[in-house]
Each structure stands twice: as C-alpha cells, then as structure tokens.
C-alpha cells in the first residue's frame, strides 16, 4: 500500500469486504435468490478459500467482487473502493475454471493480452517472460494452447492474471478440471507463486482438503440462498508440505468442514 493511496490511511483496511450482500437473478419464471446477507472480509496478503456445494453461489460471489455482476443488496469494496473502480484500476486478476486462453495466441501473447488492452504491452514483454519463468513455462512461450496440457494452460492463465501486477488474485475453481496428481502439484505451485508475489488470494473450491491445505481461512457457503455457515481459521504451519495432509490436525479441519457441508447438502 503506497502512502499516496487515500484509502490506505483507514485502519485495518480489508482487501475484499462484503457487507450483507444479497443477489437475485431475474430469471424468466421466478426470480432466483442465490445469496442472502453474505458478509466476509479478506485481509491484505491473506489466502482465503470459499467452500461450498456446487450451485450454492461461490462463482456468483467471485463475479460480484470482480464487477462482472452487480449485487442486488449490500455493499462490496475492493481495496476500499467499489468493484468497478478496482476493475478499472486493474486491482485484481481473475482465473477462470477453464483457462480461457485465446486459441490463436501463443503462450506469451496470451499473457500479454491484459497489457495490450490497457495499452502497456510495449514495456510488458520482460515482465511477461519473468512470469512465465515463475510459473515454469519459460520454454513454452511460443506454444499454442492446443499444444499445452490442462495444468500448463492453467499456469498460463495464472501468469496472465498476474501480468498487470494486481494486489488481489480471484480464482474460480482453477484446478477443478485437473486430475488428482496435477491438482496436488498445482496447489504447491500456487502457494509458491503466492509467496513470491505477495498477493491476496480469494480462492473458490468445492474440495475441503484443497481449501485446508492452501488457506489461512476457509469460508463455507450454504445453499439456497447461500449464506456464510462457517468462517474457519486454519492454524497450520507454513510453508505447507504435502505430508501435512496425513496429520491429525489436517484431518480435524477437513472433518469440521465436511460436517458443515453435509449439514448443508441435507437441506436440499
């Protein structure tokens, strides 16, 4: 936070803050109430996961924060500003579940897209190369998306989201489509990237072990309409090691999350 930022003077400024957020989709038949009074905060530098059964509104929360959608009720701030202002200032990067790479662009060109759009492409080439190096794809800068595996594509998407040097990374089930082994590897990679870039990460997943392994805090969202059911601080040592998953502490966290989730699923 630079001193020039006027909002930085506020005490305990949240990177992302939702206050009593509600969301209703105006569908053709009955309006669909997806979120009800959702309140949560993500502190700068924190890794927070949003966990919940599919269809409970996790993606909707992320889309609201990213200003892809506008909430029906409540207030959202990103770095103390409205989501729209934050979007225009490129305060956050977004990683979609499917990598959403453009098929006609090489790896490097895909990573450069955000800079081309903001008009900074000329001085971004070096930064894009550095990020490709960070995600371990330096050798693949001229490959096309169809030549990359699912895990590689998602790493390109992460590099693309980071190229504008945002302080916040929003990730919507980025590893949901990957196989178990690749997913575990990508989790470790993500933690390494998070530590190297010092960003705030707000991460959507429906896997409790993934949420516990990655996060400082896990927020569980219930269904219909989605509300915060549990806000659980994960007090496990960092850097996290895969062996952690076999410990009793880890199992205790996942069990707590599962109990909350199971209670939720019965409601359907």
């Amino acid at each position: 936070m630079s001193p020039a930022d006027p909002s930085a003077s506020r005490i305990d400024l949240a990177a992302i803050q939702l206050e009593e957020v509600g969301m209703t989709f105006p569908t053709s038949s009955v309006p669909l109430r997806v979120l009800e009074a959702v309140s949560l905060a993500v502190r700068p530098g924190e890794f927070v996961s949003l966990l919940g059964p599919s269809g409970c509104g996790k993606s909707t929360v992320l889309r609201l924060v990213a200003d892809i959608l506008v909430p029906t009720d409540g207030r959202i701030t990103v770095n103390g500003e409205s989501p729209e202002t934050a979007r225009r200032r490129r305060a956050f990067g977004f990683v979609f579940q499917d990598a959403t790479l453009l098929a006609w662009r090489s790896t490097l060109e895909n990573v450069l897209l955000p800079l081309e759009i903001s008009g900074d492409a000329s001085r971004g080439r070096e930064r894009a190369r550095r990020l490709l190096d960070l995600v371990g794809l330096a050798k693949f800068e001229s490959a096309y998306p169809w030549q990359l595996s699912g895990g590689m594509r998602q790493r390109v998407a992460i590099a693309r989201a980071l190229v504008t040097e945002p302080r916040i990374l929003l990730m919507d089930e980025p590893f949901g489509a990957l196989d178990e082994i690749t997913r575990e590897y990508m989790n470790l990679e993500l933690l390494r990237i998070w530590q190297a870039t010092a960003t705030t990460i707000f991460f959507v997943t429906h896997s409790s072990p993934e949420a516990v392994f990655l996060s400082d805090r896990v927020v569980v969202l219930g269904t219909r309409p989605g509300r915060v059911k549990l806000d659980l601080a994960v007090d496990l040592p960092r850097p996290r090691d895969p062996a952690l998953k076999e410990t009793v502490e880890f199992a205790r966290y996942t069990a707590a999350l599962r109990r909350t989730l199971v209670g939720e699923t019965r409601l359907e």
Binding site: R90, W104, I117
Partner: protein, 267 residues
C-alpha cells in the same frame, strides 16, 4: 501426435504424400480411363460425348478462343466473390452489434436467398444492362448467404468466460471485437469462403447464359447450338479449373492466416 511423428521419417513423408495426392489422382485417372475405354468400345459418337483424349486435343486447339473468353468470367466470378462476401461480412458485423438491425434485415437476406437465382438473372440483366454489372451482382448474390450465416455464427461463437475475461480486463467494445470476436470467427468465415468460390463461378456462368457476347457461359451456349461438343466439354473443363483455382487460393490464404487449431470442430 502419431501423424506428426510419422511425418518426420522419410518413409512416413512419402506415405503422407501418397495419401494426400496419390489417392485422389488415382480416383480421377480411373474415371477418365473408364470414360475413354467405354466410348471406344461402344463407339459412342463424338458429337454426343467425346472421349477425354479428344477433349484434351480440343483444349489445345481451341485455346485462343478459350483464352479470349475465360478472362471475362474470371473478372465476373472474382468480382462477385469479393462483393458478395464483403457485403456479407459487413452485414454480419452489423447484425452482431445491433439486434434490431438483425431482426429487420435477416428476413430480407433469407428472402433474397429463396428466390431462385435463374429467375432473377433475366431481371438483373434487364435492369443493369449487358456488361459486367449483372454478372458480378448475380455471382455476389449466390455467394452472399452462406458467408453471412457462417460469419454471424462465428462472431457469436465466443465462450461466456472469454467475454467475462474481456470485462475483467476492462476491454473496450472495439477491443472485444478485434481481439476476441473477429479472430474466433475466422475458421467459420473460411469454411463459407470455400463454398463461395464454386458458387461465384456458377453465378457468373449462369448470368452469361442470359445475355452475353463473351465469357465461358457464352461459349457454352454457342458451342451447344453449333454442336461443337468438343468445345463444350473443353469449356466445362476450363470452368472447373477456374473454380478449383479459386478454391485453392482460399485454402492457401486460410493456411496463412488460421495457424491455430480451432476449438470448434471443422466440417
């Protein structure tokens, strides 16, 4: 991957060449051989159907006549191809950005499509005279519709998440068009352009039947009336080569521009 690996060995490359060129050539040669043989065995009169060898001879002998006429048809077909596809592409861009415009104009486009081209050809000759104009317009009309439909589909065939990405990146409308919609529509566009090559040659020739004093269509009419069957077949062969040449030019252009593997399966 298996194909790519096979291409690297010399033997694999020869096999690939045979598959690409050898087999089609074999098919064509078989038909020509049977045609020649049948006419010689059953003594089919040449004025009804000449054998390929005679057509080849006529092609050489009558080349000055053919050469004098082919240029006209090339101008008409290529002119119609460019005009029809340019209008189709512009309309598609307009439709995608303006829904009411699409609602208004699409039925008109469909109406133009349903009128048989042979039926409007005389009307256009009446309206536009005996020169290039009616032929170019007819060739344009016939190649217009598939391109319009494909281009609209192509411009709309962008994933929701790609549009959301553009939104997150705060892209302008122009950026969304040039960086997302246009590139993703190109495979669709080229599929339509390939169809349009043959159509535009057909359009030009049909238009020449109605009223012309030069061109391949004119030559077809004259040689039919004068029972110059050899010339008729030779003209038809030239028309086919013309369509093929146009088609291959578009294929070459596509190879140059569409270098990626599109997500959408191609026909």
């Amino acid at each position: 991957m298996a194909i790519a690996a096979a291409r690297q060995t010399p033997r694999g490359r020869v096999a690939a060449l045979i598959r690409q060129f050898g087999l089609p050539a074999l098919g064509i040669l078989t038909i020509l051989g049977y045609w020649e043989l049948h006419i010689r065995l059953f003594s089919v009169p040449n004025y009804l159907m000449p054998p390929p060898s005679l057509i080849a001879v006529t092609l050489v002998e009558e080349w000055p006549t053919l050469e004098r006429n082919v240029g006209t048809t090339v101008i008409e077909a290529v002119g119609g191809f460019l005009l029809g596809n340019a209008v189709a592409i512009l309309l598609a861009v307009l439709f995608v950005h303006n829904r009411p415009m699409e609602r208004t104009l699409f039925p008109v486009a469909v109406a133009v499509r349903t009128v048989p081209i042979i039926a409007i050809a005389p009307i256009l000759v009446l309206l536009l005279g005996n020169g290039y104009a009616p032929k170019v317009v007819i060739a344009a009309l016939i190649s217009f519709f598939p391109t319009l439909v494909n281009m609209v589909r192509g411009l709309q065939a962008v994933e929701t998440s790609a549009l959301e990405l553009m939104r997150v990146l705060s892209a302008t409308k122009a950026q969304v068009f040039f960086k997302l919609r246009l590139p993703s529509s190109l495979p669709f566009l080229f599929a339509a352009l390939k169809i349009a090559t043959a159509s535009s040659v057909i359009g030009a020739i049909v238009a020449e039947w109605i009223g012309a004093d030069t061109g391949l269509g004119y030559l077809i009419v004259i040689s039919t009336f004068e029972f110059r069957t050899g010339l008729l077949y030779a003209t038809t062969a030239v028309a086919s080569f013309l369509a093929l040449a146009l088609f291959l030019s578009v294929v070459a252009l596509e190879r140059l521009i569409v270098r990626w593997q599109p997500d959408t399966p191609r026909q």
